[in-house]
């Protein structure tokens, strides 16, 4: 066991997978000597050499497109995209090819790439360094999308992602990179893709989030006297509907929290699934505490944009109170 930050946990996972399997190679901008702009690949260039840790030209479509080719030939590339805003130029290669190659060729070709991408706001970065595009990639069948919220999960999920035979977008909440440390086993282990984690058990309401806002959810729980169940999704796609449904069937209420804009965000999908599966159990409308339906502002206003604890608390209180005052508890 070591007490690691999220950055360190990812770094450790990369080292272990690279030692184990020489088909794993890293490519991207500044991943080599510089160790990545967030230092996630620190030390890897020295350890594994320039053939396995490769600085590429500044071209995201190129990074993903060549990774697809590398993967089609049997390697397991782990491309890094520097910020989620710069995943956009690779959208085409990801959705048009990576996601479809197995289907298109009936498994004759597969694309086992793990595309690492720092994600989200809260670090006072410039424009396009603070977005949360996970719903975009979840909407594309054929991709898997994960986002850990803790060092432990980061290591286990990354190892799963690298070993996964299909393309995985591995979003790293940059606000949590060094936010806290956690005991992380030194040996390799996996966290299953597609399984959510119940962070806190509770009975009054189910709180669902992923990535950096999980910490905000914890803060909201800490300041509440209600019994709140917190689910950290970890996997965006596939989504662990079962864990969510089971919880909401218990609590009858749900609040979903994410940084992306509300409109067509992942919250909508989760709310819809809950509604479909828990219709008869719902005691209040499911609430979404999310980024606003406007462009992520420059950093002076980012805190106002993000779903911080006070906004989560307000929604929790409201959802819990819903119906009780007027005796409509069983009306929903």
């Amino acid at each position: 066991m070591a007490n690691l930050t999220l950055v360190q946990a990812i770094n450790l996972a990369l080292i272990q997978e690279m030692e184990k399997d020489d088909s794993v190679i890293i490519l991207g901008q500044d991943v080599g000597v510089n160790g990545g702009v967030f230092r996630v690949t620190e030390g890897l260039f020295k350890r594994f050499g320039p053939e396995r840790v490769v600085d590429t030209p500044l071209a995201e479509s190129g990074i993903i497109g060549t990774s697809i080719g590398l993967a089609m030939a049997g390697l397991r590339p782990v491309p890094e995209i520097q910020f989620e805003g710069f995943l956009a130029p690779a959208y085409d290669q990801l959705c048009t090819h990576a996601a479809r190659m197995r289907t298109r060729t009936r498994s004759m070709f597969t694309v086992p790439i793990t595309c690492r991408v720092p994600v989200g706001g809260g670090i006072h970065a410039p424009e396009l360094h603070s977005d949360s595009p996970e719903a975009i990639y979840a909407h594309q069948p054929g991709l898997k999308v994960v986002m850990p919220a803790s060092p432990y999960d980061a290591k286990g999920l990354l190892i799963s992602a690298i070993r996964d035979p299909d393309p995985v977008i591995f979003f790293e909440p940059k606000r949590l990179y060094r936010a806290f440390r956690e005991e992380v086993p030194e040996d390799e282990y996996t966290v299953e893709i597609g399984k959510a984690r119940i962070v806190v058990e509770g009975n009054d309401v189910t709180l669902i989030s992923w990535g950096a806002p999980v910490v905000q959810c914890m803060n909201a729980i800490d300041s509440s006297h209600h019994s709140i169940e917190l689910i950290d999704l970890r996997s965006i796609c596939p989504l662990d509907t079962e864990t969510i449904v089971e919880s909401v069937r218990k609590t009858g209420r749900a609040v979903i929290v994410h940084e992306a804009p509300r409109n067509c965000g992942l919250g909508a999908e989760i709310a819809s699934r809950i509604m479909e599966h828990c219709f008869l159990y719902l005691e209040a409308p499911i609430q979404r505490v999310t980024g606003f339906d406007t462009v992520m502002p420059y950093y002076k206003l980012e805190q106002e944009y993000l779903p911080e604890a006070h906004r989560i608390s307000a929604a929790l209180e409201e959802v819990i109170a819903y119906g009780t005052a007027t005796g409509l508890g069983s009306a929903g």
Binding site: A59, Q93, H97, F109, P238
Partner: protein, 375 residues
């Protein structure tokens, strides 16, 4: 020296067997032995037949949109002829002739255009990727495939095919740039057939040649007569050697012409000058190679007749094989998305529905309406 010259370049254009049947013996020496020229001619003839039949299949409603390859056969054939059997072929959709030469059964191409993914289930030992529909995107895959070969210290390289239109896409540039800067063994073969649907090449590249695209990357680049199978074989052969030996990429502009419409959905008469077409009909690669053989008495009318019959037979057999394959079943849609099927998708597969899945009917029986959980 205030305004000094810091870079010099020139582009060569290679032609061996020209339109008039003149053969450059020096350049053409040992490029293709006579017996192979015969085989290549026969193969091209069969491909031409394939093209005609495919066109008719579309017209008679037995196949979807089809892009004729007619007139461009020598490009991919000459290239594939010059490559090793385990060099990656990364085609667009006008390389049937080269793909068949490598060994792809013809029914794969038919199935693809018949709207069936099984047309892309290409045996891995053929070392070819499926046809690329989004223009300009596949060259990056070639770069990755070549990179993997280099990483594994294999002797194999990758050869990407694409049109003149494709060179306008950003991905094309990124592919060339990656290959050049990372020293990767890729042969880029641009089929400049004069048109991208209705848009003439000069709107993709107003420079004198497309070959000079490669200059931007410090890459070897060369133009050649794409309707001249000797020139193609020679230029690609040299590029392949450079790739294998030095891990350096090459950009090849193959001058050719689309004798047909863009696809069966297109009508080139709307935008194309008849005179231009006529000029190029005379440059048909098939005529040229036939002339070569005739001049050297390597082929005659009786062999031609037999060949035509064989072509009809082989293509008909391929059509039969393609049409006899049972229609895909709806579960096929779901079965190849991931290595393992997620639960929700399995439900969709089982029910063929996206609605109603959450309405567990047992809820209605077992549950009393939404119990209140509040204190």
């Amino acid at each position: 020296m205030p305004a000094k010259i810091v870079f010099h370049a020139k582009i060569e254009s290679v032609s061996i067997l020209d339109e008039q049947g003149n053969f450059d013996a020096k350049l053409g020496k040992d490029v293709i032995p006579d017996t192979d020229v015969v085989r290549l001619y026969e193969h091209m003839t069969i491909c031409r037949q394939f093209d005609e039949v495919a066109f008719k299949l579309q017209r008679s409603g037995r196949m979807g949109t089809y892009p004729e390859n007619r007139g461009q056969e020598a490009v991919s054939l000459g290239a594939v002829y010059a490559l090793h059997p385990d060099d990656w072929l990364v085609p667009c959709y006008r390389e049937n002739c080269g793909l068949f030469w490598r060994g792809l059964p013809m029914e794969y191409i038919l199935l693809h255009w018949m709207g069936d993914e099984r047309g892309n289930e290409i045996p891995r030992d053929l070392y070819m990727t499926p046809q690329a529909i989004p223009i300009g995107t596949q060259m990056l895959h070639a770069v990755g495939l070549a990179w993997a070969g280099k990483y594994r210290k294999k002797d194999s390289i990758a050869c990407a095919f694409f049109g003149d239109g494709a060179t306008s896409e950003g991905d094309c540039h990124e592919a060339l740039n990656f290959a050049a800067n990372l020293d990767l063994p890729v042969v880029f073969v641009c089929q400049n057939n004069g048109w991208a649907i209705s848009v003439p090449t000069k709107m993709q590249c107003s420079a004198p040649t497309l070959a000079q695209r490669g200059l931007a990357y410090g890459m070897e680049c060369v133009q050649c007569d794409g309707n001249d199978i000797f020139a193609m074989a020679k230029v690609v052969g040299e590029a392949a050697e450079r790739a294998r030996r030095d891990h350096r990429p090459t950009f090849i502009e193959a001058l050719t012409y689309r004798l047909g419409d863009h696809t069966t959905a297109d009508d080139a008469r709307r935008y194309r000058d008849e005179a231009e077409l006529k000029k190029w009909l005379k440059r048909d690669p098939l005529i040229r190679i036939r002339t070569y053989l005739q001049q050297r008495k390597l082929f005659d009318d009786s062999r031609e007749k037999a060949l035509q019959a064989r072509a009809r037979e082989e293509v008909a057999a391929a059509v039969k094989r393609a049409e006899e394959i049972a229609a895909p079943t709806s579960s096929d849609m779901f079965d190849w998305l991931y290595a393992e099927m997620p639960g929700e998708l399995a439900t969709q597969r089982a029910t063929l529905r996206t609605s109603g899945l959450g309405q567990d009917p047992s809820q209605l029986q077992e549950q009393s309406p939404a119990p209140s959980r509040n204190p």
